[in-house]
């Protein structure tokens, strides 16, 4: 890359426009990546925070709590397995209307047994086993909700006090409210609950789970697989992936178009190199190497600026998160897309005749 490096160094202004465009694409990709990670993390932070490894849903529920309704015999089948801890989990969405003033809340209501392995704090166990009430995710405290505030839950018309706050996160972007399983059943089914709940949280060995799943007509999913059931999760990840894919394609096309124009402008120079005995490989290495260096510098600059933007946004309520593997993927993808884009001029470079150097058309 003897010529390419000196061209970049001494003709930097010619490459400035392309460099800025690539850097802007890299900034946008990095911010989108941060937003995608933040949105996904935000949507499933409640499930992620709970100390289980697998969830058993009703057959065909596809990780969606509202499609899954299980009864105690299913729980017993799992609980009977040696080395397996199993506990019922009720999950639904509800509106919590303030009785004495305060913000109106749309919450993801999680019903758990006070003595289950899902509840690890002693004060939470005590709270859930006493007077029926709500333990809310701590973010709601910042919105003005206080311990002792009373909320009427959805259609059940059941009024519950706020017992306390914990880090509970969100599910489907709704703040999580924990309550006892019995209270959840009361809100969800009224007096006809018949012991029903949404899913079974599992911890410990996975030995025997398949057999239990078959016997109870349930599906056992890992925690990661269970995220897919979070409302909006699949749509968000698909949308973000598509936007990023389009950005990569646009980036490759822009670089390809620029490189093609550059090749046309440099036709005589390419002919001159070939007249000096440079092979097609030498000329291509020089040109593609030049693009690779330019794309790498512009992409890394853009990713660094984008990373700083995401970092700044993460200090605000915006759902963004800087995920280093995701940022590394953006960087590598953009560089690869750029190099692939520059290959579009491959044929044009190889077709330049050395006779051009003498101004002779073959």
């Amino acid at each position: 890359m003897f010529l390419a490096l000196r061209d970049l160094k001494r003709g930097a202004r010619r490459f400035l426009l392309l460099g800025v465009v690539i850097a802007l694409v890299a900034i946008l990709s990095t911010v989108l990546s941060g937003l995608a990670t933040g949105l996904v993390t935000d949507g499933i932070s409640g499930l992620r925070a709970l100390p289980f490894e697998r969830l058993a849903f009703g057959e065909g529920a596809e990780a969606t709590f509202s499609r899954s309704s299980l009864r105690p015999p299913a729980l017993d089948a799992y609980a009977a397995l040696p080395g397996v801890k199993a506990t019922p989990l009720g999950a639904s969405f509800a509106n919590a209307a303030p009785v004495d003033g305060g913000p109106n809340l749309d919450v993801a209501l999680f019903g758990v047994s006070a003595d289950s392995f899902l509840v690890q704090r002693a004060d939470a166990r005590a709270a859930l086993s006493g007077t029926p009430g709500l333990i809310l995710t701590s973010e709601l405290e910042d919105e003005g909700v206080k311990v002792g505030d009373r909320y009427t839950l959805g259609a059940a018309d059941l009024t519950l006090p706020v017992l306390g706050f914990t880090y509970a996160g969100t599910y489907g972007h709704a703040p999580i409210a924990f309550t006892s399983l019995e209270t959840w059943q009361q809100i969800q089914y009224g007096n006809g609950a018949d012991g029903r709940f949404s899913a079974i949280a599992l911890s410990g060995t996975d030995r025997g789970l398949d057999r239990a799943a078959k016997a109870t007509h349930t599906d056992v999913l890992t925690k990661d697989e269970a995220y897919a059931g979070s409302p909006g999760y699949t749509a968000e990840t698909t949308t973000m992936t598509m936007i990023r894919a389009f950005l990569l394609i646009i980036s490759a096309l822009v670089i390809g178009a620029f490189f093609t124009v550059l090749t046309v402008q440099r036709t005589r120079q390419i002919g001159l190199l070939k007249a000096m005995g440079a092979s097609n490989g030498y000329v291509l290495r020089d040109g593609i190497g030049q693009m690779a260096i330019l794309v790498s510098i512009a992409t890394i600059s853009g990713v660094l600026i984008g990373g700083l933007l995401v970092f700044a946004l993460s200090r605000t309520p915006a759902p963004v998160e800087l995920n280093l593997p995701a940022v590394a993927l953006v960087t590598v993808s953009l560089i690869v897309a750029g190099i692939l884009g520059s290959l579009t001029a491959f044929r044009r470079v190889t077709q330049v005749e050395p006779a051009i150097a003498l101004g002779v058309e073959s």
Binding site: F2, L3, R6, D7, K9, R10, G11, R268, Q269, L272, L273, K274, A275, M276, G277, A278, S279, Y282, E353, P354, A355, A357, L358, G359, V360, S362
Partner: protein
């Protein structure tokens, strides 16, 4: 001068389509240039002089005939092998110097070594020595835009000599220079041909180039004719 022709064209024909007709710009043309000989070819505009240089320098193929470099036939070589022969045996000097705008004078010469994959330290040393020989040492680190037309042309000649060629092809190397600079460049080409034993084929019209010619031929109707100066 040696007896072995360093450059031989044997029965070369190149024709172009001109509507329904075919016009031969080189017609069964044969030519030998010995090592150390400076041969000048002149001819009217459109006579095919540049085509002759392109064929002789292996920049384009003839429709018929062969070009031999140092006795080696090139007619049957593929493009890759032809580019290797060009790299190792042939150098060009152009009318407008054709320097790379982003390279300094010394780097123009170093590029030749880089294309040949030669060790960079040795190449740099040789490039500076060559520029010094051609009285261009003080221009070594300047870009083409910082040089005069005559200096650019001399750097172009230095770049050609950097390849230690068997054959040097020059396309009107003095045409765009004033008479004084043209004289310097013509002398330089002549001494390069004679001192370094390079078969030099020059297309030129001006007296500066012609007065140093060992032989002068005129290209007319696709054939070369001897000219008595």
């Amino acid at each position: 001068m040696t007896n072995q022709p360093a450059l031989s064209l044997d029965g070369v024909r190149v024709a172009f389509r001109d509507g329904l007709d075919e016009r031969a710009v080189l017609d069964d043309l044969s030519l030998d240039v010995a090592g150390g000989e400076l041969l000048v070819v002149s001819g009217r505009s459109g006579a095919g002089k540049s085509t002759l240089l392109a064929v002789a320098g292996l920049l384009r193929r003839a429709d018929h005939g062969d070009v031999r470099i140092d006795g080696t036939s090139t007619a049957a070589l593929n493009e890759r092998r032809r580019s290797v022969v060009r790299r190792d045996h042939i150098a060009f000097v152009y009318q407008s110097a054709n320097l790379f705008p982003s390279l300094t004078a010394v780097e123009q010469l170093e590029l030749v070594g880089h294309i040949r994959n030669e060790p960079s330290g040795e190449v740099r040393h040789r490039a500076r020595a060559l520029l010094e020989d051609l009285d261009l040492a003080d221009r070594a680190d300047q870009l083409p835009a910082q040089m005069s037309g005559g200096e650019r042309q001399r750097v172009g000649i230095a770049r050609a000599l950097m390849a230690s060629p068997t054959v040097l092809i020059a396309d009107e190397p003095t045409a765009s220079l004033d008479p004084e600079r043209a004289k310097v460049v013509a002398e330089l080409l002549a001494s390069a041909a004679h001192d370094r034993d390079i078969a030099t084929l020059v297309v030129a019209h001006d007296s500066a180039a012609l007065q140093h010619a060992d032989r002068h031929l005129r290209l007319d109707s696709g054939r070369l004719h001897h000219v008595e100066d």
